[in-house]
Symmetry: D2
Subunit: 256 residues, 4 copies
């Protein structure tokens, strides 16, 4: 995989990263690679962090082999979460962008470890991280350079129970106006339920987000994790069409 | 003032209500009526609720006389907050739409009192009201009919201190998909600081909001309340231009 | 009823106010008056505020007549919530202490109205009121004098769903150290479930609370509101025994 | 150091762990070991997690050598935080109890790593962890056995700014009634300011806590971290005296 530094540097690009919560099987990943029109950025979890230790924890090494095989057939940028410093070197050959999940935003040892490799890092906001704490965590990545630090809003903890999290687009607006970092939004975890994901994605773009990370699954009902918030391929392509209409209003061009 | 029932009933209309936090003076109100291009809907507080009892509490009766005089010269719909059942009859002749503020969302006696008059009511969400509680409060207005009950998101209480409140556009998306009510957003109170208000307004429209309530002041630095979140007239007209471009993407037409 | 100003002024008194969420029937009230050993302070709702408008809203005028009859037989101080300025004069003859509920903490018109009568006022904290806002609301009662303003912590809104609210005893500690007001705690609403109420009451006393408001019902399973958090009479007397043991450690004497 | 499994198993023991936020110097640690009357349990950070990467990060290896030297002179149980799996073996010879800090509660890889060593683990609650998530994290420690898993409440994130965190004693009550785990409270981080720490500690005991972790410093004003919430030695001994009076009420005996 070629160098991916500055992959997100173009200020007029609206980045759309799609893929499943977890890499589950070859059939699943082929369906996504086929169903999403010429995807260049695909996400998928290989090591999963689960609140319940008996939940599916990801394919681990088998996931690595699968992604490498698919990339050999047709290259794409793979975005994946790293949950332990000891995983980084393993994941390096297949990974263009490392993701630090919400549970690890405060895991400064992990941040220091990942910053040593020259890849963009998507730093998800912890469940109730203040903006100051989030920016404090981003400082642990400073060696990568501003353009390679992506702050990803994914909803914060709330007193309300209708939705999974409380999407904080105010933070996106604030960060875009006051910091040099790229700001992405994950509408899937923010809302937690498929019927609300597309509207949340559109609102994020209007708030000024530079990119979106959206969970897509060829068969959401059968997903091993987070199926209730995944878009089907058809829904995903509907989102793409809407984003193509919306992006120019904000002087941006969609990159899937 | 003619009957205003169903004022907000057109699903393809994007309503923009503007005006100062508080009606302060004739000069102020004339500047707004002149500066906003052909306004049909103007907001302004006559009785203010203030956390600090020594803060400016509104003009009271003098505010009433001023609005009536201005409406006599050139009619406009006036939207104002009612904070006590005993104010309703006084405000009735000048008011097209009653607003229930966030502090009174749970004030069911007030809701029952206001529902007896045939005017649309904008019901602001309390600081940390769950969506269920908000809909429960709306039930106290049921006699008005669905089209005359407007739920207004204005940001909820948060652990973060950078912005005044946490704008919850997820609630807007949820309410539009699952209830028959109109949903407005108040980006001014949500963000609390002028530089972030316009982007919040655009995001609200992309989330599906039917309308916006925006604080405008001819001279924000001199405002007696909430000046730090008011748009100047120039900023307001910039917002109007942006909304005119954005609304058609969502199959709506702006009504100022 | 004699003058009740300064009813709570003794700093070495630990006040215990008990009674049902709502006054429901003569049988219910007699059971409580008999079951609680020589009660001098009894609470009970006559006008209830309910999230659902179809829930039991209190007995209203019938409740007034019942309490007056019982007080005529054997005097006791009655503590009840007022939810509308227009109720105050009606409730005055039977009421020693007015309570402002959490939903009305920001209802400044109501606070101003109640402050005109010379009775102690228990001001419950709103669901997510900051301490500053709470103290701001207390200022609207300033005419009563510090000793007649009781701040009552009743749990704040939380992201957790195991308990009804999040009991904030830190606020009690803070208020006792920095303000002249009396501070009570309502462990019933804080916890929301009977098995946890007694321990919460003990913790409140250890935090420095001047008093407790506890929901008691002769038959919690049959209560028309909040039965799941009411103590039975037996449980209540267990609480009394525990408080009598604990109070002297904090240089206080229990007053039931 | 002898085996420390079941160190906290006695249900009638009230454990008091004291010490500085960070191990800073020999003089500091000697002052604490002398000033606290016959301490058997001492806490102190050797590797610190700091929101600001330029803040003091702990002594690291030098802290290890210092603690070992002091333990050689007079044995005591040392309680310290582990922030990276790679630190565990280094810390093992001096450590009786491992602490997982709030920032790492969701760091399941770290939990799995620490559970492999037979030492009690104090699992602090993350800033806004639900009780379910906290118990989910505890499951990753299940191999240690119930008596060696200590859940430590340290205040949760709040909308209020007067205190550092919102002490959630309701969670302590809930956990004691429904789970087999030991439950400790950290009043220092909960309150964040010295004048409120002692009262919070007393309230925690009344809520049913099995133990307390309290920050003590011989000279709080000079502390390299968290001095504003540390007790002086004099204040600490005042706390000890109060706990000795309070513990028997709850059928417990204080162990410092």
């Amino acid at each position: 995989m070629k160098d991916t530094l500055d992959l997100f540097a173009d200020p007029h690009e609206l980045t759309l990263i799609s893929g499943p919560c977890a890499v589950e099987s070859e059939m699943q990943m082929r369906a996504i690679l086929t169903g999403v029109n010429k995807p260049s950025l695909i996400r998928g979890g290989i090591f999963k962090m689960r609140t319940n230790k008996n939940s599916f924890q990801g394919l681990g090494d088998g996931g690595f082999d699968l992604i490498r095989k698919l990339q050999d057939e047709a290259p794409f940028h793979f975005v994946t979460e790293v949950t332990d410093p000891r995983q980084i070197e393993l994941l390096l050959p297949i990974t263009s962008v490392f993701q630090i999940g919400a549970r690890n935003m405060y895991n400064y040892e992990l941040l220091k470890a990942v910053a040593a490799f020259k890849k963009p890092v998507i730093l998800k906001r912890a469940f109730s991280a203040t903006i100051s704490e989030w920016l404090g965590a981003a400082e642990y990545l400073a060696d990568l350079g501003e353009k390679n630090i992506v702050l990803c809003e994914r909803g914060v903890r709330s007193f309300d129970t209708k939705l999974r999290n409380l999407l904080d687009l105010g933070s996106v607006i604030y960060l875009k106006k006051t910091t040099p970092f790229k700001v992405f939004v994950d509408p899937s975890h923010s809302m937690g339920l498929t019927p609300y994901v597309i509207d949340a994605a559109l609102a994020a773009v209007a708030a000024g987000a530079d990119g979106l990370i959206v969970e897509v699954h060829p068969n959401p009902a059968q997903a091993l994790s987070d199926g209730q918030q995944a878009l089907s391929l058809e829904q995903f392509n509907d989102l793409v069409a809407k984003l193509q209409k919306l992006a120019p209003i904000f002087d941006k061009k969609l990159k899937v």
